[in-house]
Amino acid sequence: MSAPAAGAAKRVLAKGNEAICHGAIAAGCRFYYGYPITPQNDIPEYMAAHMAEHGGAFLQAESEVATINMILGTSSTGNRVMTSSSGPGISLMQEGLSFMVGSQLPAVIVNISRSGPGLGGIAPSQGDYFQATKVAGHGDAHLICLAPHSVQEMYSLTMLAFDLADKYRNPAMILGDAIIGQMKEPYDPVPYVPAVPDKPWALTGARGRAARHIKSMFLKDGEIEVHNWKLRDKFRKIREEEVRFEPYMLDGAKIGIVAFGTAARVAKTSIQSARKEGIEVGMLRPITLFPFPEEQVRDMASGVQKVLVVEMNTGQMVEDVRRSTPHHERIHFFGKPCAVPTPDEILEQIRLLAGRKG
């Protein structure tokens, strides 16, 4: 299926992985490089079939190490570029990502995450939360990180990721998993105009202008420190201006769930059931994981009696929740590493916290 034009009137039934491609193409991404890995192969396969018809290029790189450096190259010319991978592949990209943060180069990196550590498995997992939100390889580097929980968001957050990456000259990651990657759902190709800023830093050949250099090495006295503070200011601005989240049935809630992506999706079902049982429960769903909605979590945590963090791992985002609120005693964690929790399992946790017997 060809990518629909943004603003087309009709809803489109698409796989999450496909919607990412549609979003990328609508955002003006014309270059895709990648290396096969399950469970995201639909993305390179789609781009292999469709990049050319949009006047762009698809290339299967020899590895993820090569991939991220091809990304770096195209980005340095000012064009929008994307890759996608999973677990081991994203790990291999860490060096390049650090170079991109250091060189202040935008790109979109999609992580349809799988189970780890190591080769792990291809079951859906949220075990890459720390990697996606805390670091971009070595150095004091971060990625902007967006966590879709529907096919609609796979589409629209991909477009947003391109805009944010360009705005801040920093790589942005879409953190999904096999469930939202493989599931089909209708999405609305919402009207959208890519926000592409001028790129007075792009390497295009120094015809009629001073030569430009893009680099991440700063050896002169104090230079790298200045550079780090500059990046810090940028990340601070991102934290101040780019937080996105969805409050879900939080009115009058005594229990507040914090969950993202697929876990949040399942939690919605549990919350609906619990509400029917008369339990006042709601959810704060972070859409941006970096920047993390700290203030919103803090406010929610001070308004409820209990906070339940649900993740498909053994406990990662829960540390950010703890960091956001002084009410540590209110925080409870329910984790399911490398598996999707069932609505009943989460409901059971909610009932326990509400003091109900299941």
Binding site: N41, E45, Q60, S63
Partner: protein, 250 residues
């Protein structure tokens, strides 16, 4: 003791998970038979790749280490340096060895690392669902070369056995197939030679095996066999590309 099965001792009594008509199973078997015949089972360490053969440890009753994708030759180097008197071999697919692992294989070979490499070339990525490999033939359609491989954008299929034969450190480089009983005999002979050279400390040996992937080629097993001896063997000629003689080994 009477031998009841014709299953080699080294081969575990497990059902292969490979698709019908896939050569991985045959290649496992001949490695196992060779290790048996040379009485090397208890002295051998194998490295499993990332690829369809990742579960090598389910089939072979020898010590086996699972490598990250493409890094088997580096792991093998680490083992061999630490235990030089053990026989060390890697088992790798074409995505594993010739794409992501190109760096590791070239440098292990160039160092003359005293290991044996069994390289399974099926012109595609089996495990991940039939994407283009560095060995994919020109015009071959895969899920990431949907219009057929084009040399102008994807380059040419890599002939690994020839490429590595050009390196000083390589003692033995050959290409075989297991598409008929006669070819299987030759393949077994080649693997034996590889292990023998390793035992003699002569350096790096690679046995490239042209192999099938009926599933991702969209072919019936018999047609897949034919493809190996047909267009594959035409582009990837069978034969020995380098064989170090005892005499010229300094």
């Amino acid at each position: 003791m009477k031998q009841v099965f014709d299953r080699p001792r080294t081969l575990l009594d497990a059902r292969f998970h490979y698709c019908p008509g896939c050569h991985h199973g045959t290649i496992h078997r001949i490695i196992a038979e060779t290790l048996d015949r040379m009485e090397l089972r208890e002295n051998t360490i194998g490295i499993a790749p990332v690829g369809c053969a990742v579960m090598l440890y389910d089939y072979m009753d020898i010590d086996i280490l699972e490598a990250p994708h493409g890094r088997a030759p580096a792991l093998a180097t680490g083992i061999k340096r630490s235990l030089p008197d053990r026989v060390v071999f890697t088992y790798q697919g074409d995505g594993d060895l010739a794409s992501i692992g190109m760096g590791e294989i070239v440098h292990a070979a160039n160092r003359g690392e005293n290991i044996t490499v069994v390289f399974v070339n099926n012109t595609t990525y089996g495990m991940t669902g039939g994407q283009m490999a560095p060995t994919t033939l020109l015009g071959q359609k895969t899920t990431t070369s949907p219009f057929g491989r084009d040399f102008r954008t994807e380059g040419y299929p890599i002939r690994m056995a020839e490429l590595l034969a050009g390196l000083e450190g390589v003692a033995y480089s050959t290409r075989v197939t297991v598409s008929s009983p006669a070819h299987i005999r030759k393949a077994k002979e080649a693997i034996r030679k590889g292990f023998e050279m390793q035992l003699k400390g002569m350096g790096f040996s690679i046995i490239e095996v042209l192999s099938t992937c009926p599933t991702n080629w969209g072919m019936k097993p018999l047609d897949a066999q034919k493809r190996v001896l047909g267009e594959m063997a035409e582009y990837f000629p069978l034969g020995v590309f380098k064989e170090r003689k005892q005499a010229d080994f300094a």
